[in-house]
């Protein structure tokens, strides 16, 4: 279904990704890249480099010896922190503001995206075709960007959307969104991905993370984003009124080899990693 024109116009008015963020995201989709390649892109963005250097030398990282070059900073912080930092430098302010249309407070979207990204990275090794962890991480970091665009149109209507789910008028929150604004956050997210010229695999994962069976050649990535989204919501990292009001699609076990015990271990490891990442980003975002 086509997205209403006024929503597309709002998407057009959103800020574009910085060149460094776009390049970092694209690089993460390639198989043979190195941390040196990543550092080179980051080094071309003075603001991002300065923030990363200050972060790596902050109390949150607890280094004894100071790091003065960006490649070592990237090695220490890891690729996932560098990817999220590049994305934050473009979209952080939007990801941190409250999602009024979903009844979510400040930082809830950012927390959700980070939790899902870490879940996606951890889930990648359980995919049938051994998805790259960085690709999974990036797709899951971006999977819900459509909520940024849709939130203003849903403003003040979270209760209505919840009512539709609870009274059985809508099968899930996605359908509620459609009934209220003629579009859902997956469609809005895909439109944003196209505008930002994101790689096709990412646009597909964003578009189909609630209907992964429709992702054609990107099935594995879309299923990973689907499960990562659920894991983040189960861990209490939702985005307000819609948290857990979606349908877990049957057939995930054909794409991800997950058992109960594995899932619990993953949930535990992700929550530990999330705490560390949130502490790092607390430093990162406070650097002026």
């Amino acid at each position: 279904m086509a997205i209403p024109e006024h929503i597309l116009e709002a998407i057009d008015k959103l800020p574009a990704l910085t060149p460094a963020a776009a390049e970092v995201i694209a690089l993460a989709q390639t198989k043979d890249h190195s941390l040196a390649d990543l550092a080179k892109i980051i080094a071309n963005d003075p603001l991002l480099s300065a923030r990363l250097l200050k972060t790596v030398n902050s109390a949150a990282c607890g280094l004894v010896k100071r790091i003065d070059n960006i490649e070592r900073a990237v090695i220490y912080l890891g690729e996932r922190v560098a990817i999220a930092a590049a994305f934050w430098s473009s979209m952080g302010k939007l990801c941190e503001r409250p999602l009024d249309g979903y009844g979510a407070g400040a930082f809830e979207l950012w927390r959700h995206l980070l939790a899902a990204a870490l879940a996606g990275r951890a889930l990648a090794v359980y995919t049938q075709d051994a998805l790259s962890p960085e690709t999974a991480y990036t797709a899951c970091l971006l999977h819900d960007i459509g909520k940024i665009a849709l939130s203003d149109f849903l403003c003040g209507r979270a209760q209505e959307a919840v009512d539709k789910c609870e009274k059985g008028l809508a099968a899930d929150y996605l359908e509620s969104e459609h009934m209220l604004v003629d579009a859902d956050h997956c469609e809005a997210g895909e439109a944003m991905a196209r505008r930002w010229r994101l790689p096709e695999n990412l646009a597909a994962a964003i578009r189909w993370h609630h209907a992964p069976e429709q992702a054609r050649e990107w099935l594995s990535l879309a299923w990973t984003a689907h499960i990562a989204d659920f894991l983040a919501m189960m861990m209490g990292c939702g985005t307000g009124a819609d948290a857990l009001r979606y349908r877990l699609r049957p057939g995930y076990n054909q794409h991800l080899r997950l058992e109960r015990r594995t899932l619990e271990k993953l949930a535990f490891e992700i929550s530990v990693e999330l705490e560390r990442n949130l502490a790092i980003f607390e430093e990162f975002r406070n650097i002026s």
């Binding site: 919840v162 189960m234 271990k265």
Partner: protein, 169 residues
């Protein structure tokens, strides 16, 4: 995390954490429970209130973590919260306390792999029963998140969820 409300101290309980207080006017709160469960204990005589934010049913997933953060797992959270309540001045026997559970939202999964919420609730009941205790009230299951707060003065337990009116159990 500790803050202030109009009446007293606000203690936020993070994932896997526990808090106990008998400070007048204090509120103990935990935010956005998904499949996690708030285990709540209240001694109405000593006005001592305790809460654990339980994330997983079984501590064998990470034994070392369970020693540092017993509130994280259902099987370790129950004895740890009991002990913390006693240390704060709650009066035995615990059978006279009010125990409640909230959270444990579920995902409909025919394979039962994703039913962590349900398993958390079952594990908590089992751990309570092993000590001859049981919850007096529960607000568990469903497919929505819950924020839970507990007042030390009255033991009132309030719940909220975005897009819903607040309620009490």
């Amino acid at each position: 995390m500790i803050g202030e409300t109009s009446v007293g101290r606000l203690v936020i309980v993070g994932i896997g954490d526990m808090a106990v207080s008998k400070e007048p006017g204090a509120i103990i709160k935990t935010l956005a429970l998904g499949s996690c469960v708030a285990l709540v204990m209240y001694d109405p005589v000593a006005h001592c209130a305790g809460m654990a934010h339980v994330a997983l049913p079984d501590s064998t997933v990470a034994d070392a973590k369970a020693k540092i953060k017993p509130g994280y797992f259902a099987d370790t959270a129950v004895p740890a919260l009991l002990k913390a309540m006693m240390a704060e001045g709650a009066l035995p026997p615990a059978k006279k306390w009010i125990i409640k559970l909230a959270g444990g939202a579920n995902v409909m999964d025919p394979n039962n792999t994703f039913c962590i919420g349900k398993r958390n609730v079952l594990a908590l009941r089992k751990a309570l029963w092993a000590l001859g205790l049981g919850p007096r009230a529960e607000d568990v299951g469903g497919n929505f998140s819950r924020t839970v707060s507990l007042e030390t003065d009255s033991g009132k337990m309030r719940l909220s969820s975005p897009g819903r009116a607040d309620w009490e159990i």
